[in-house]
């Protein structure tokens, strides 16, 4: 009796295992298949662009000279966003996880999470109507006093709708992502290691540098990369905030354009080769994101031995 019972239990266990491993495998395959299908769609739709005569491409000088300025614009906007959002986001997360009194930390964490939930079109409207006009004066000042640095070359935009404004709006959008992800990582730092640092006579800040930040290193990089993903792909906010134009070095003049905004603004009226062109631009954006993620993985794996996982 007991043998049949245990045999039956083992039997159902095996079936359950099979079902679950099948479901897990299916989910894994589905993700790869979807990714592959998207990539295939982009490549096939983009192909006509690469075989077209250079004169037929927008700008008349071929695809590379069409895509290059907007790739640069995309990277500049994302870089501005990350340069601003990373230190602030990490600082906010550290404040919540290690400095704020517990009640306040909970409230603040909640607010940060809410910030992440605001739709991008609202950020865009805020950036275009409020932030841009507020930044006109500082831009003018920068043009007058730091104009010799190419990125602050004048004349400053009269509307404030520049790539720097777009970058700042993106920073505000990326900030809650970085802050809430890194906060979670900081909270997971083993008490054991924090106490080890404190027992050696570390101040709170020294303890954070000794135990918390090294532990969270991989997590911070992942958070920044997720933020970068949003900054690269963000469409609506940039489309509303930036008054676009040809590529220029100055960040405080109208000009520059990002891939996502370029696609969104032109897609509704595009047909024929123009449509292929925009999809090709999408393919380029896809490749950039892929590359960024691979680099991030590589950075994280380089320090595997010291990650604490062993």
């Amino acid at each position: 009796m007991s043998t049949t019972k245990s045999a039956r239990r083992a039997g159902t266990g095996r079936t359950g295992d099979k079902v679950f491993s099948g479901a897990a495998l299916g989910a894994g395959v589905l993700i790869v298949a979807v990714l592959f299908a998207v990539a295939m769609f982009l490549v096939i739709q983009a192909l006509p662009t690469f075989s077209a005569a250079p004169a037929d491409i927008t700008g008349g000088k071929g695809f590379v000279s069409y895509i290059f300025p907007i790739v640069v614009g995309t990277l500049i906007a994302a870089a501005i966003a990350l340069v601003i959002a990373t230190p602030i986001g990490v600082a906010v997360a550290l404040y919540i996880s290690h400095y704020a009194p517990r009640n306040m930390a909970r409230g603040l964490g909640y607010v940060v999470d809410l910030l992440a939930a605001i739709p991008s079109v609202i950020y865009g409207a805020w950036g275009a109507t409020f932030l841009a006009s507020q930044l006109k004066v500082p831009y003018q000042w920068l043009a007058d006093n730091a104009g010799w640095i190419p990125i602050f070359g004048g004349p400053a935009s009269g509307t404030g709708k520049t790539i720097l404004t777009a970058g700042i709006v993106l920073a505000v959008m990326v900030l809650p992502i970085i802050a809430s992800l890194t906060r979670e990582i900081f909270l997971q730092t083993p008490m054991l290691h924090q106490e080890a640092a404190l027992a050696l006579g570390a101040t709170r800040w020294e303890m954070i540098r000794m135990a918390v930040l090294p532990f969270a290193r991989g997590g911070i990089i992942s958070a920044v990369m997720l933020g970068l993903g949003r900054a690269l792909g963000e469409t609506m906010a940039v489309a509303l905030v930036l008054s676009s134009g040809p590529m220029i070095a100055s960040l405080i003049r109208s000009g520059n354009q990002t891939i996502a905004a370029e696609i969104a603004l032109n897609f509704p009226e595009a047909f024929g080769l123009r449509l292929n062109e925009l999809i090709a631009a999408g393919l380029v954006l896809f490749l950039i994101t892929l590359l960024v993620n691979m680099v991030a993985r590589w950075i994280i794996s380089r320090h595997k031995e010291f990650s604490g996982a062993n």
């Binding site: 517990r102 054991l192 290691h193 924090q194 106490e195 027992a199 006579g201 570390a202 532990f215 604490g308």
Partner: protein, 259 residues
């Protein structure tokens, strides 16, 4: 360097809850003092008050005095950070910094105090501290490898090396062998015997044989019941505690009748 600790009228609270009541004890310099007692009797809590590590726990506070060679650790204006650099601590579970190499682990505390250090001085200190922790011969060829790659016993000795590298006056050990196998435990006990030549050592242990083997004096803590505060019941020479205790509950505990 080695200093003695005088504790007078010490109460420890977690919020409103009195966890340890009215401890008076003197821990001699260059000696090993063991704290024994059943779980939850407050011996670890009390140990943490000796270098103000209890302040890490939210709500924990202390009344009373702890004098380190006459200086009150709880006097106004005393920075817990300074206290902890004078009174080192080794924890129950080995906790080398996983992101640091063996060498950097040893130097972790030193780098806090003196920012710049010549490489030769640092090398000498690493060797001296690791030798002091009886670990040098096992790790001298892999100082740049992560500390987390060592065995549990080696990691614990690495933590001891890290603690003695900052040249503290006192070393507190909170059940340092409870996560280790017997061979590693023996290695740590030998080490404790050597450490008392230079340091004041205080060790919390659940293992009464260990207390009998390593300590000069033993303090027995007990608790009257759940929700009651822990108390210091008896403090005497280790031989006295184990062979001729003055209190009935001490005798019951050391003879294995409870706890």
């Amino acid at each position: 360097m080695s200093k003695r600790i005088d504790v007078s009228d010490l109460n420890v609270y977690y919020g409103d809850f009195l966890a340890v009541e009215d401890v008076n004890i003197t821990l001699d310099a260059k000696s090993v003092t063991a704290f024994i007692g059943p779980s939850g009797c407050g011996k670890s809590t009390f140990l943490r008050t000796l270098n103000r590590m209890h302040e890490v726990i939210p709500g924990a506070r202390v009344e009373g005095k702890v004098l380190l060679d006459g200086d009150n650790l709880y006097a106004d204006g005393v920075d817990p950070v300074t206290v902890r650099s004078q009174i080192g601590m080794v924890f129950q579970r080995p906790n080398p910094f996983p992101t640091m190499s063996i060498r950097d682990n040893v130097l972790a505390g030193v780098k806090l105090n003196s920012r710049r250090m010549a490489k030769s001085d640092a090398d000498a200190l690493v060797e001296k501290s690791l030798q002091g922790a009886n670990l040098w011969n096992e790790v001298k060829d892999r100082l740049e490898k992560p500390g987390s790659g060592l065995s549990g016993g080696q990691q614990q000795r690495l933590c001891i090396a890290r603690a003695i590298a900052v040249a503290p006056d006192v070393i507190l050990m909170d059940e340092p062998c409870s996560a280790l196998d017997p061979i590693s435990t023996l290695a740590i006990e030998d080490l404790i015997n050597e450490l008392k030549d230079e340091y004041t050592v205080v060790i919390v242990t659940h293992n009464m044989q260990q207390a009998a083997r390593v300590s000069d004096k033993t303090a027995f803590f007990n608790i009257a019941g759940t929700g009651k505060p822990g108390k210091l019941i008896e403090f005497a020479e280790t031989a006295t505690i184990f062979n001729n205790p003055g209190q009935k509950s001490t005798e019951d505990y050391v003879s294995g009748r409870f706890g």
